[in-house]
Symmetry: C2
Subunit: 347 residues, 2 copies
DNA sequence: CTGAAAGCGCTAACAG
DNA sequence: CTGTTAGCGCTTTCAG
């Protein structure tokens, strides 16, 4: 195995502690002679000494580790978040222990537990989104926990999230202004905050036009392509009169596009589409999608920064909920259609 | 802080060692009475005992950690690899320490060093691609190293990679069969194996038609959208007679599409395009791209498996180079054009 | 059946 | 200016 401090000390003909001090750049502070210092440094280099961070961690009771748990790293949205956390904490000397829950609540709980066993100093978690007890428990046991994206509705945890409600309102307003009245929704995971806040945004936006959201116009059960494809097929078979679809994620939208293609429907001629987005390539899709763009990088970086601050301060930040603004970007997937006079006739 | 073994032992009224044995499920083996075992387990639960993995690691000289270093986690290609490694090793009880080199060789070296300091038991690295000494050094100091994607040309390291050469040949054959003779190349990082093997594939494929690759038809310097966009602009300004582009990555292709759009050129009517791919959404791009599809998941999972085997066997595998097949998928981005009779007139 | 003690590699009192 | 020693939390001989 790799040489240890003792070996270096022996090679340099000094004691363990002198070697330690020299290696840690404390030579000056301890007034170690330059000759001694040099001989230690030389010995270390010659032996290829690499300080054992495990031992250091045990001793210092600090691992310099941040645990990051996401539902699916292969999704660019979560990959970006993991990346930004990595970047945010690296200058402070922290490394990231990565966990992928595979959208499974049970796995998430297990992962959080394992990471705590590894004594991560902080946790940044994109939860599956239905249960938060394990995170609350971690948080109350004094380890900084930052939840990103799908957090609880109550302000129990430090939470970084996009402005789902406003974004949703903007998206639906855009459809309404273009004359659409019968809008289908390709939703993500029901019961999670991003999903339900967006549904609420839709309802409120429709209400301004004296309309209501027909629950039968909402389909889908995950933020995945598969869900988007299934939901679209279902929605358009049962309700061929829908003129627009609102997809709750880029994968949902991509699934929707696949289904529409299969059904021989064109965007936006036959069906308009807007999406709530999280991926950087939306402008290059078959039809450049009009979409609510989230600032994913900021979401992740902010989470990392908050965790770091908390680590430095030693106390929870006053601000629990950090809402990152979103922006509606109009592209080519929404067609203007003649306003149907009997706006109330939607169903 | 969290309770330690001593605390559990005290609470259960037994010694440290008995507590340890009971907690590790070795009660039977050590013929500990059921009552004692139960009291230990109860005490542990009551105190919320979580074994300190750092101390265990120090003691066992095993961390159960695999280091994964990639150039850019936000790129779905690398994100998938990281994910698959995570999945491949998790059942064996390993966790992944993630590093993002940001395509910077220096950072990669530093990260590898830091991860080794943290005593990762194995390294899976997608190198920036120009220098490998640090990896060779790690490998020769007995830690399993698996290089994915951009490895060295020589078989000095265990390497998992797509069949770049054959894929490239297939892509160019497809263009040639469609009548294209003047092909521009949006390359990635020159000097890396995937890049240069693909260039070689192009040359050999062209040679079959008695053609050669004009170096001026090759542009680009990274596997990024920016490089793809710049290269396309450059290529089509200088050589407006190019009828097709071969993009070496999905980001390169997306950049190319952006540039073409800006220049008012349509795919495939004005310019055909094929890409060497690594992302799952290519079928939904503006123009569904004909492309060489890599089995990214297999790339990553295989790397994880090999690392694990090596950890179990304790010796380097015989097979150094693991080549994963690729597949040409024809979509709609290649137009048939009238064969120019004077095939030699390309330039 | 259970306990005492050594030691993994390192840092930081505490002595000289 | 340098060395000795205790101890971080755990597992595992070695003794009873």
């Amino acid at each position: 195995m790799s040489a240890n401090l003792q070996a270096v000390a022996d090679a340099a003909g000094v004691s363990l502690s002198t070697a330690s001090r020299a290696l840690n750049g404390r030579a000056k502070a301890f007034r170690i002679s330059e000759a001694t210092e040099k001989s230690v440094l030389d010995a270390a280099k010659k032996l290829g000494f690499r300080p054992n961070r495990v031992a250091q961690s045990l001793r210092a009771k600090k691992t310099g580790l941040v645990g990051v748990v996401v539902p699916d790293v292969s999704n660019p949205f979560f990959a970006s978040i993991a990346q930004q956390v990595t970047r945010a904490v690296e200058d402070a000397g922290y490394h990231v222990l990565l966990g992928d829950s595979g959208e499974l609540g049970e796995r998430e709980i297990k992962l959080v537990d394992q990471l705590r066993s590894r004594r991560v100093e902080a946790l940044v978690v994109c939860p599956v989104g239905h249960a938060f007890d394990h995170l609350a428990e971690a948080s109350s046991s004094n380890i900084p926990v930052v939840v990103v994206d799908r957090g609880p509705l109550e302000e129990t945890l430090v939470h970084v999230t996009s402005d789902h409600y406003s974004g949703s309102v903007a998206a639906v307003d855009c459809l309404l202004k273009a004359g659409h009245r019968r809008i289908g929704v390709l939703q993500g995971l029901p019961g999670t905050v991003p999903n339900d806040l967006r549904l609420k945004g839709i309802q409120d936006s429709l209400a301004h036009f004296g309309l209501t959201l027909d629950p039968r116009h909402v389909a889908g059960d995950h933020f995945t392509t598969e869900s988007g494809e299934r939901a679209t097929t279902e929605l358009l078979s049962d309700h061929p009169d829908l003129t627009a679809l609102f997809a709750f994620s880029t994968p949902n939208a991509i699934g929707g596009m696949r289904a529409l293609k299969r059904m021989g429907k064109r965007i936006p001629e036959d069906v308009s589409m807007v999406s709530f987005d999280d991926a950087p390539f939306v402008d290059c899709l078959r039809v450049p999608l009009t979409s609510v763009v989230q600032d994913v990088r900021r979401l992740g970086f902010t989470a990392g920064e908050i965790a770091l601050q908390q680590l430095a301060n030693g106390r929870r930040p006053e601000r629990r909920r950090n809402v990152i603004p979103v922006q509606l970007v109009q592209r080519d997937s929404v067609a203007q259609i003649p306003v149907c006079e009997d706006g109330a006739s939607l169903e």
